[in-house]
């Protein structure tokens, strides 16, 4: 039996890569979308602010599986546009990641004191110069740690794609299980692979944070000249 399992290794590895890629893509879209939504939330234009609030609350409150069904079954019905399971899953996960990331990014931007925005504006910076050189570098320290958490959450949620028949890691594991007469072993193996991936991301995130932390220590304490 273990020999049989071993023969599935390339398949599982490929599936793991698909899952990593899928959730990474969703996270990237979520980071860009989340930035836009966060800026809209902080806008002085009330309708924009309300729209962003509605978006965030909406996708935060609805199970991702429902969103996935809406995207996968609803979009073809409404727009007559067939989505591949991959596209549907990416969109559903990205919508959810956008709503989460918008809150993370907003908290980061708001953690930068009012005096920083004023100093940058008083120096004659445009909005984007201020963001790029003053606000974002400081906000990143606050944004980075929870972003790692969002990536891990997104990666776990991507297993929902198995329900609409997309062959990512979970689906691959379940298919292997069928060929092995409903054995318990493939499930264990699945859990182990998810654990290893996410633990790796955690470690990577921690390393990134440490790098930022060196700067942070300089910024907040007297490390001497």
């Amino acid at each position: 039996m273990s020999a049989q399992l071993l023969s599935y290794t390339p398949l599982l590895l490929k599936a793991a890569l698909v899952t990593i890629w899928l959730s990474w893509l969703a996270l990237l879209i979520g980071a860009v979308g989340g930035t836009l939504v966060a800026l809209a939330r902080m806008s002085t234009f009330l309708p924009l602010r309300l729209l962003a609030l509605l978006f965030t609350e909406f996708f935060r409150s609805i199970p991702i599986l429902i969103v996935l069904f809406f995207v996968f079954f609803g979009v073809p019905l409404i727009f007559g546009l067939d989505l591949s399971p991959f596209a549907a899953t990416t969109i559903a996960l990205a919508l959810h990641a956008t709503s989460t990331m918008s809150e993370v990014i907003r908290a980061g931007l708001e953690s930068v004191g009012k005096g920083q925005w004023e100093a940058a504006r008083a120096a004659g910076m445009t909005y984007w110069q201020m963001m790029r050189h003053v606000i974002v570098p400081q906000a990143l320290r606050v944004i980075l740690p929870p972003s790692v958490g969002v990536y891990i959450a997104t990666l776990k949620e991507s297993s929902l794609a198995s329900i609409i028949g997309y062959v990512e890691l979970t689906k691959t594991g379940l298919l292997i299980r069928e060929t092995m007469g409903s054995s318990f072993v493939p499930l264990l193996l699945l859990a182990l692979i998810y654990f290893l991936i996410n633990y790796g991301i955690s470690l990577g995130g921690a390393a990134l944070e440490r790098r930022f932390h060196v700067n942070t220590r300089l910024m907040t304490a007297g490390a001497g000249q």
């Binding site: 005096g115 100093a119 004659g124 050189h133 910024m219 007297g222």
Partner: protein, 248 residues
């Protein structure tokens, strides 16, 4: 003949239904050092912040070198590029070293060459007597040092006027002197300065004009020494006697 750098015409500022500035009219000529004094909450900071459009005004007009200051228009960027501001709490960029703080605006806002800017920045650090702290981060410096870096940062873009909002009131007493000394140097150079301060001695020694603000209005203005010796209004007299008592 002097040039008018700044002109306030009947400026009105409201926060909600509270009128903070209630018809302020005055002007600042090139080379003048105008010191604003007055009780807390009277609108001194607000007036300063209206000059570079950090606040909008609800009535009247402010002109900087002939251009109307309009906080919500794109033209405000151009106004800000010719004004240097020094804040009570310094507001240095904590993620940048002292040198990077000073170089940022000239390089990214004014598009100047890094080398030229760095040379000028080093000169400015000499001027504020901080050449040895060029690579320190703000968090590694005392308040007095940070405020002197902030002054160097403001000077780096060759502004036509400097706005100071209580530059020494967040400092430990022992570092107030080093910041005032730098400001005196600037006065000697003939810089145009608008200073909100409670340092009456500084205002008397260095100021070319003193403006007493109370309840959102200019109550009295004139030569600082004359005004200190013999304030014309009852309110100025009362205010000056309270703060000179507090200073002793």
């Amino acid at each position: 003949m002097t040039d008018t750098v700044l002109q306030f015409d009947n400026v009105v500022k409201r926060f909600g239904d509270r009128t903070i500035l209630d018809g302020v009219s005055t002007s600042v000529q090139s080379g003048e050092i105008v010191c604003f004094i007055g009780p807390s909450g009277t609108g001194k900071s607000t007036l300063l912040r209206c000059v570079n459009g950090l606040e909008t005004i609800e009535g009247g007009a402010i002109r900087f070198e002939g251009t109307p200051v309009q906080a919500k228009q794109r033209s405000i960027i151009d106004v800000r590029r010719r004004i240097g501001m020094i804040f009570q709490h310094f507001n240095l960029y904590p993620h940048l070293t002292a040198l990077e703080n000073v170089m940022l605006a000239p390089v990214i806002v004014h598009g100047e060459n890094r080398k030229t800017v760095e040379e000028r920045a080093r000169g400015l650090f000499e001027k504020v007597r901080l050449s040895h702290r060029i690579n320190a981060y703000p968090a590694q410096m005392s308040g007095g040092e940070q405020q002197r870096v902030a002054i160097a940062r403001a000077l780096a873009t060759n502004p036509h006027i400097l706005l100071f909002d209580e530059p020494t009131s967040a400092l430990d007493p022992e570092t107030v002197g080093e910041v005032l000394a730098v400001m005196r140097d600037l006065a000697v150079e003939g810089r145009t300065m608008l200073v909100v301060t409670h340092e009456i001695r500084f205002a008397a020694d260095v100021g070319t004009r003193m403006v007493f603000l109370d309840g959102g209005k200019i109550v009295e203005e004139g030569n600082p020494r004359e005004m200190l010796a013999a304030p014309r209004s009852e309110r100025a007299r009362r205010f000056l006697s309270t703060i000179s008592n507090a200073a002793h």
